[in-house]
Structure formats: C-alpha cells, structure tokens
C-alpha cells in the first residue's frame, strides 16, 4: 500500500471546481471526497512525506492508530458535507470548505509542529469564508471576530512551538503535558502556551465565545462543516500533546455545564446547538485531562460519534433555516406537518447526542463518563451526568419541540432538496449503526477496549435519567418558553472594550485633541513661539545683520584704501617687495 496524503485531493483537486459546471461539477466534488476517504482507508501505519526545508524536517504523514481514526472520521464527514452542500453554486464557498477539510486532515497527519501550524492556520483562514459567504452585515462582523480569536490563538500556539523548539531543538509533535495551574519554568511555559493555543480552537471558556458567535452566522452548509472540524481537530491535538494535563479536567467539566446553561437561554436553534458543541467537547477535554487509556478511548469514540450526530443536527436545523428563512425558535413551530422527515433525522441526532441506548452517543459518552467513575473522581462524574440531562433537555427535546410542535406558526415549508436529505439519511444511518454495531468503532480506538456499554444497569441508569428529564421538561415547559433575546458571553469583554475604545477615540479623545490639547498647544506653545520669533527677528535685523553689514562696510572702506596702492605696474610691486625685505632685515638685526 502506498501513502497518498488525503489532503492532497481536497487542496489540489479543489482548484478545478470553478472550471466545472452542473452535474459534472457535482460528480467531480463527490469523487474528490470519496478518493480522499479511500486514501485514508489505504493509509499504512508509519511515517511518510518527510521533506527537508531549510534546517527543519517537515513530516506530512504521521500515521498511527490515533491519527488514523481521526482521519477516518474527518474523511467520512467530508463526504457527508460535500453531499449536503453539493447544490451550492458559489465557487468560493466550495473552495473554502475543501481547504477547511484538507486543513484538518493535514493537522491530523502532521508529524512536526511547523506543518501542524501551517494546516492549523489554513483551517482558520478557509473556514472564515464559510461565515463571510452568508453575506449579511452581521456575518461579516462575526467573521472578523472569529478570525481575530483564531489569529490570537494561533499566535499563542506559535509562541509555544518556538519556545519548545528553542528548548529541545526538535520540531516533532511530541507529548508534552502541562502540569499544575501556572507555568513555573521555561519547559512548562512552552507546554502551557501550546495548551492555551489548542484550547482556543477547542472553544474552552473563556476562549470559546467565537463558536456560538460565528457558527449561527455561517451559511447553511458552512455551519455543517464548521460543527465538525475545528473543535475536534483541537481535541485530537490535545490528546497527542496534552493528555493528562490535570487543568483540562476542571476546564472540561466547567465547559460541559456552561454549554448547557447557555443552551437554556438560547433562542436561535443553531446557536443552541453551537453551545451544545461546547458542552460535548467539554466531555472530551475533561477526558483528555484524565488521560487514562479508557478515558482516551472514550474521547476518541466520542469525537467520532459527535461529528456525525452534531453535523446531523446542524443539517436538520440548517434545512429548516434553508426552507423557512429562520432558525429562531420563537418564529418556528408546527412544522411536523410539512417537514416530518427532517424532524425524524433531527430527532435521531438528538437521541444520539443524548446517549439514548441504541444510538451512537450511548456507546461513546458512557465510556468517557465511566472512566471518571473508575478514577473515583465522583464530582466530575456527577457533573457530567448532570450535563447529560441538560443535553437531552435541549437537543433532544427543546429543539425538536419548538421547531416541529410548540405554537403552530402556519409556516408553509417543504422538505429540503434531495442532496440535503440524502446527507441527513447517511448521517442518521451512521448514528444508529454506530449505536448498534459499535465493535468496528471500538476496534479503531488507540487502546484495546475493555468496556461493554450494553449492561442492564447502564441501560437502566441512562433510561431513568433521560425519561425523568423528559418529565421535568413537560412540567416546566412554560418556564422554558423561548425568549427572543441573546445571551452575553465572554466575548462581551473584547467586544465591549473594542466599542469603548472606538467611542473613546472618537468622542472624548478627539474632543480632547481638538478642543483642549489644540487650545493648550496654541496658548502654551504656538503663541509664545510666535512672540519669541518676532523678538528674534529684531535681533536678527539689528544685531546679526548689523554686524554683517558693519563688517561688509569696513571691508569696503579697506578695499578703497587698498585700491590706491594697487597700481597694476610691476616695478611698483617690485619696489614694495624690496622695501619689505629691507624692513624685515632691519627688524631682525635691530631686535636682539
């Protein structure tokens, strides 16, 4: 088997998209995604694609069990995403999605920090176009904010990489966990900076506000891609570099709850789902922090399932947005009559994320949570259980209820186009398939699995939590009714301070400059200088000029006198010279 880098299909093959039209273009795009998938399937384990660049060794193909399972899911998601968005005519948007997928595959297979960073930035700079191509004013703004967060995170990561390189002289992507709460020496500072750079992309609070800001602002199809790649690529990098960093346990658990709390308040269905990405990635980040073999297996399995069910949820709500023009729960309701099939796909996604038995989340989330139980971290175990109830409450109940039932708004809508529906069918089949036939997934995990999800106790535990959550939902339905409002997140600080800065420069600072400093300048500096200048001018005319004129006049007078001596006849000059010589001789002889 030969190694062909799967990103190459997306990055090089994508360039031809603008040249093609119609069915040929659609078939070509699907072909690229499928070829990339088969390239992943055929990847042998080992190190490939090593290039010398200046003094560095770049490794583009580092294939082991961990990178291969992530490459698998990214390639599968690439196929689903391409099918879902195959009708999009905007070449730029398609190219952005292709480079985004190619970038994430590149990060996954990167064996050195430099190429990892290259693909990392490629992801940020291509995905921002998926937001911008929505072409509304708010999307353009959200896109700029998204880019700023990622550039900042990327620079922190780069700082960590450079420090790491200067300490070890080695650019290989290597395991360097961060222990403790604060860096104490240069090596731990390097690990700390890399960790911070990575968790910005994993949307860990307080650095995660870009996610619920940008994803709902993205295009219908763009959000499906975005929900899958950025955070999970970061989770992959965290596993490889930072597994066992205790700080991640706390951050992850906080994240899992934080996403749930915001989801209660949220009215935009896609933003609600975005907060649930944060919540679900919280399980993964916490699992990475725990770092046991079972936890890492759980995280990888959960990332795998999460990409499939979360993209399915984004496809379902995206279809609603595409067909009705809104994703706001207050404006939706009663769609079960007109879009029932979309409802079924979305509910399958909702049951999967809620870890219902026979759905994909059940076989993956439980592994991560059980790892916490086995490590006797009861507080984290209970907190993650609490977040599970919240997940079902929102994604399994609130979103479907308010879109397809709730108050019938009488919206005339149809099921989405065939390709969008096909992508949702594939996603649904994966969600159920992984829930039932989980052994093939377990075989892909980095460590051997000693975990059986379908035990009587575990099934019963889950059913009790979920069904009693449902009881709570219907009893408190009135209190849960959506409000047409937004919720402030940690990006309040940069956004408000940027606004305050602009206001400060435009209003007080400009006023100060124009009215106060300008005046002060005029009175204290400009006017005295003028006065001094006038005085200096007098000195100049009277003293300086007078002196120069005086010297000039004196010179003129002298030259007139001299003129008389200068006869122009050689004998006079000779006589003068002889007289002079005689005078000199007399002086020399007379003076002793």
């Amino acid at each position: 088997m030969e190694f062909v880098h799967p990103s190459a299909f997306y990055l090089i093959g994508g360039l031809l998209i603008p040249l093609l039209k119609g069915r040929v273009r659609q078939g070509y795009m699907l072909l690229i995604a499928l070829l990339a998938f088969f390239a992943v399937v055929n990847m042998p384990h080992g190190t490939f694609g090593v290039y010398e660049f200046l003094d560095w060794k770049l490794t583009f193909g580092n294939v082991d069990k961990l990178s291969k399972v992530f490459a698998y899911i990214f390639a599968i998601m690439g196929v689903i995403g391409v099918i879902y968005s195959i009708h999009v005519k905007n070449d730029g948007e398609q190219l952005a999605a292709f480079y985004y997928v190619g970038g994430s595959l590149g990060v996954t297979l990167a064996g050195d920090f430099l190429s990892l960073f290259l693909f990392w930035e490629m992801m940020a700079f291509s995905s921002v176009f998926l937001v911008w191509f929505r072409k509304s004013k708010s999307s353009v703004h959200a896109g700029f904010r998204y880019l700023l967060w990622h550039v900042a995170g990327g620079l922190i990561l780069l700082a960590g990489i450079i420090l790491q390189y200067s300490l070890s002289g080695d650019l290989t992507v290597q395991y360097s966990p961060f222990h403790g709460w604060w860096p104490s020496d240069p090596q731990s500072l390097a690990s700390f900076l890399i960790l911070i750079g990575l968790i910005v992309n994993a949307a860990v609070p307080p650095f995660g506000a870009w996610l619920p800001d940008a994803y709902p602002a993205a295009t219908v199809t763009g959000a499906v891609f975005m929900s899958a790649f950025t955070t999970k690529t970061a989770v992959y990098a965290l596993i490889r570099i930072c597994a066992g960093s205790e700080i991640l346990i706390v951050l992850g658990v906080v994240m899992a709850i934080y996403g749930v709390v915001y989801a209660v308040l949220e009215n935009d269905a896609r933003r609600l789902l975005a907060y649930h990405i944060i919540s679900q990635v919280g399980y993964m980040v916490a699992g990475v922090g725990l770092g046991t073999q079972m936890a890492i297996n759980g995280v990888v399995a959960h990332a795998f399932c999460h990409i499939l069910y979360k993209s399915l949820l984004f496809m379902g709500t995206g279809s609603v947005l595409y067909m009705t023009g809104t994703a706001k729960l207050t404006e939706l309701g009663g769609l079960y009559k007109t879009m029932p099939r979309t409802m079924i796909y979305t509910v399958i996604g909702g049951l999967s994320i809620s870890a219902f038995p026979l759905f994909s989340g059940f076989v993956s989330k439980s592994m991560t949570v059980t790892a916490f139980g086995e490590a006797h971290l009861t507080w984290a175990f209970m907190a993650l259980m609490l977040a599970s109830a919240g997940t079902f409450l929102h994604t399994g109940l609130k979103v479907p209820y308010f879109i397809w039932f709730g108050k019938d708004q009488g919206i005339k809508a149809k099921e989405p186009p065939w390709n969008m529906e096909l992508a949702m069918i594939i996603g649904s089949l994966f969600c159920i398939g992984l829930g039932v036939f989980y052994k093939p997934l377990y075989a892909l995990l980095p460590y051997s699995v000693h975990f059986e999800p379908y035990t009587a106790y575990h099934i019963w535990e889950t059913l009790q939590i979920l069904l009693f959550t449902q009881l709570g939902f219907f009893l408190l339905l009135k209190k849960l009714w959506c409000e047409n409002m937004i919720s402030l997140d940690t990006d309040w600080f940069p956004r408000k301070s940027a606004k305050a800065f602009m206001w400060f420069t435009n209003k007080p600072l400009a006023n100060l400059e124009y009215n106060v400093i300008g005046e002060i300048y005029e009175f204290i500096i400009q006017k005295p200088i003028m006065r001094v200048a006038v005085y200096l001018k007098k000195i100049d005319t009277v003293v300086v000029d007078g002196t120069i004129n005086g010297i000039g006049k004196f010179a003129m007078a002298c030259s007139r006198k001299m003129q008389k001596i200068q006869s122009g006849q050689i004998q006079h000059y000779a006589m003068l010279m002889i007289a002079g010589v005689i005078a000199v001789i007399i002086i020399v002889m007379v003076l002793p």
Partner: protein, 84 residues
C-alpha cells in the same frame, strides 16, 4: 401519511398516561437490576438516577433562567447600539 398519524396519536391524553406508567415501571424495575461495579453510594439506591434526572432537569432550567435574567440576557440589538 402514516408518519403524521403516529405523531397525532402521540399527542393524545392516552399517550400521556402511558408515558407516566412507563416512568413508574422504570423505578420498579430498578429494584431488580444487578449492580456489578459501584463507583459511589448513589448507584446502589434503586431509583436514584430517576430522582437525579428530574432534579437535574429542574435545576438546569431554574438556575439558568435565573442567571439569564440577572443581566446575561439582552435584547437582540444589544451589540449594535452606539455603533460609530
């Protein structure tokens, strides 16, 4: 269409009563479920996770809404004000 009929059946009173029945059954059966690995005391109590699920749900809704109304929730044009 078949799908619509199923949905309509699920919205009747009778379906609701069956649902309550299922919840009670869940707790009763939990008395007979074997426990192999117990991670903490709660897992040994029958019906523990039922209570946990219900309380978790109520807590999440009530506490989140309370936090939201403390000032976290703002009207939609909050960030657009004072645009310069």
């Amino acid at each position: 269409m078949k799908l619509l009929e199923i949905v309509e059946v699920l919205r009747t009173k009778k379906a609701k009563q069956i649902a309550y029945g299922v919840l009670i059954l869940l707790i009763i059966v939990d008395f007979f479920i074997p426990r192999h690995e117990v991670h903490f005391f709660g897992e040994e109590i029958p019906g523990f996770w039922s209570l946990f699920g219900f309380i978790a749900c109520v807590l999440i809704i009530v506490v989140s809404k309370w936090i939201g109304h403390l000032g976290l929730m703002q009207h939609e044009n909050y960030y657009d004000e004072g645009d310069v």
